[in-house]
Amino acid sequence: MWDLILLYTSNVSLILGSFLSLSLGLGLIRFPDFYSRMHAAGVADTLCAGLIVFGLSLQSGFNLVTLKLYLILLFIWFTSPTSSFTLANTAYRAGHGVDKTSEEESSSKS
């Protein structure tokens, strides 16, 4: 009974994770702008990874493999947002996709 609950939870979590990763692929192709693509990638890197790792860990029981899975998740949660932030920061400071006139308007208003 308990096994069945674990199995179903892990299946649901894996299915959600794969749906999110498909949406990442689609988003990367279809979004028009760099920053919106980065939004899609950011969602996928964190939530999709969390769901998939959670689903896998429910299937493997309570041993070293689960610990390694959660270590991987921890590292992904630490490093992936930092990379996204660095990328967005660099792109913004390099002037990618930034509209100069709207910047002047906002700085003159404030």
Partner: protein
């Protein structure tokens, strides 16, 4: 069965990311694509390890998380200031 679906979904996502890496008009699109490709491969290695019943692949996944982080930072650092190690006398120029 469900693991196979997840594997296929991850592979499709990786293929689409590759398309963006080849197409991407600016260099930032390519860096973004490489970064998410890295994360997808890490997840793929985890799921594939469970699919074939050999969890030793998790070591490779762990390694690649760290390595892709360092690589992305190196690439961005290089793009930002042209060198990987900045010195004060070069910054003032």
């Amino acid at each position: 069965m469900i693991l196979a679906i997840t594997t296929i979904a991850l592979l499709v996502a990786m293929a689409l990311t590759l398309v963006r890496a080849i197409l991407g008009p600016s260099i930032f699109d390519r860096i973004l694509a490489v970064n998410s490709f890295g994360t997808k491969i890490v997840l793929f290695l985890g799921v594939y390890g469970f699919l074939t019943g050999r969890p030793e692949f998790l070591d490779i996944a762990l390694l690649y998380t760290l390595i892709s982080f360092i690589s992305t930072l190196a690439v961005l650092r290089f793009f930002d200031s042209g060198v990987l190690i900045t010195n004060k006398d070069e910054q003032s120029s």
